[in-house]
Amino acid sequence: MNVPLKRQRPHGLNELYDEQAAIKSALEDRLLGIFDRWGYRRIVLPTFGYYESLSSGASPALQRQMFRFFDREGEIIALRADMTPLTARLVGTRLYDSPLPMRFCYSGSVFRYEPPQAGQRHEFTQVGVELIGGASPEADAEVIALAIASLKALGVGEFQVNLGQVAYLRAALGDNSVQGDRQEALEQAIGRKNDAEVATLLEQIGVSREAERQIRALPHLYGGREVLANARDLSLNAAAREAIDYLEQVYALLVAQDVAEHVMLDLGEVRSMAYYTGISFHGYVQGLGLHLCSGGRYDDLVSNYGPSMPAVGFALGIERAMLASSVSADLGVDALFAADMPASVRRLIAALREKGLRVEIDVVGRHGKDLLDYARQRQATRVIDCASEDRFALYDTGERELSRDELLEEVSRWTH
């Protein structure tokens, strides 16, 4: 029998409730709190826009993943697949003459059509920052350090940020007149760290011995500071050397900020957003088979919409963070009152809520055992039942009978 469509949900969407919903907003609050303390101001961005505007700078793969439909004028509309192009548009079209740098943070759903596997959702929440107008290693280091602070705050256990340099990859691959299909095939093979496939492709393309040495070394260029020297030795052009010099400055700043212990240099990772132009990074946590956050420098994106402006940012996937986070949610009720309370008690209930206690009134009108059963399910630490206008029962760690005055006296002592 087919389940009627109205009862079903399209694949890859979340409905969260109870602990999960509470944990999600707790994690979002934590991150937005950190961003706020680093001077990043909140922006709210639209959920959809013209495809032309949202797909600008995206890779063909991401473009294919965008949900698209027509509006009533026949224009192609797309749901946002990430927040960065929207931020770039905001800056490029409206805020370009504000004092630089601009620091923005956001939280919201993004939508991607991805095959249903390995934790890929069609809707997921990205919380992130964009630092616009800073062209120096200082800006990159700030965003990376902020990503590290965020990962720490999530309580995800051991984590690591893999830091690469897109400019070095482009210099290495771009110098070998590899183009079109072959460039894509080569990037894919490097992305899989498939040495044999890389070797075969390079042979077919026919690159120089030095170029082959450099490209085949890419998957092995990961580790600590020594990677920089190796990468510089392998460089075949000024662009590659400059890219490494820049990365070295960023790394030095991370060392100076005492966060380099979390950073692994990783020059062989080709997977990143198509609009990245400089450093790029991914955050991983122990026990989760997917990256948790990713970011990078995108100096050419704002100019798609307005004046050219250097920028760097990162975003973190909240649903993935929830898989790894040890943060728990307390849904317990501080006090549960039976429904038919006299006015004097009701006024106290209002006062308790003012104090920050979580107080429920049992609007269903239960008493006695039924009320206590319900209280157990709601994890209520105190239950107040009412037998008559002046006789109440209080259940906390024990069980007591109280007059109204005694109850008022007792309740007024409760604090959060």
Binding site: K193, N194, D195, Y222, Q286, G289, L290, H291
Partner: protein, 215 residues
């Protein structure tokens, strides 16, 4: 540190692959394979036995750090994994095959082609690259039956010796891809436990290089 988990394909290749691991210093007890999950004697690795087609899934989700799988399976599933090492075992290729009457025919001149396959994704990709429009008929086994009984014109399947094709009066027309067993690695684990992963990959690579010399 917890042992790194290796997902192995249950069956045909299991012993051969365990042999390579043993030679690399990760021996297992002789009758260990009767359990679904068992450690190596050093305690650094832990093997699990999965259906060959499921191995990439275990690795992609991070339930296993490593896996051994046919390149065909990895690519068909579109799995996002590292493939740092080819093992030189389980060599075969993915071929387009059909009745001998199809030999030498230009497929672009055939307006409508039905192809049976257990590899719909790879088959579709191949035909798209060649600008052919093809109806792929998915079958999970005994693909060579399809052209014989008229279910399809041609088939795309793995070919090892070619004997099965021959027995059914079929011939190979084109090769889609070469395949063999590859070591696949979860992307995140590869980053997080880089040194350990490298040790395992390098010691396996040494074994394979030694074997190549002996041959």
């Amino acid at each position: 540190m917890d042992p790194l988990t290796v997902a192995l394909p249950k069956g045909r290749m299991q012993d051969e692959v365990l042999g390579i691991f043993a030679e690399a210093g990760y021996r297992t007890e002789p009758d260990a394979g009767r359990k679904l999950i068992f450690p190596d004697v050093t305690g650094r690795l832990r093997f699990l036995l999965a259906k060959p087609g499921d191995v990439p899934t275990y690795v992609e989700y991070g339930a296993a750090a490593f896996g051994i799988a046919g390149l065909d399976t990895v690519r068909e599933g579109g799995h996002d994994l590292y493939e740092p090492l080819s093992l030189g075992v389980g060599k075969c290729h993915l071929a387009l095959a059909g009745p001998a009457s199809w030999l030498g025919r230009d497929l672009r001149k055939v307006p409508y082609l039905r192809v049976a396959s257990k590899y719909p994704r790879l088959a579709q990709q191949y035909f798209q690259q060649r600008d052919l429009s093809v109806e792929i008929i998915y079958l999970s086994g005994s693909i060579e039956l399809a052209p014989v009984v008229g279910l399809s014109d041609l088939l795309v399947d793995l070919v090892q010796s070619g004997r099965t094709l021959k027995e059914n009066g079929l011939v190979e027309l084109e090769t889609l891809m070469e395949s063999e067993a590859v070591l696949v690695v979860n992307r995140a684990v590869h980053k997080l436990r880089a040194a350990e992963i490298r040790t395992v990959v390098d010691s396996l690579a040494d074994v394979l290089a030694r074997r190549k010399e002996l041959r």
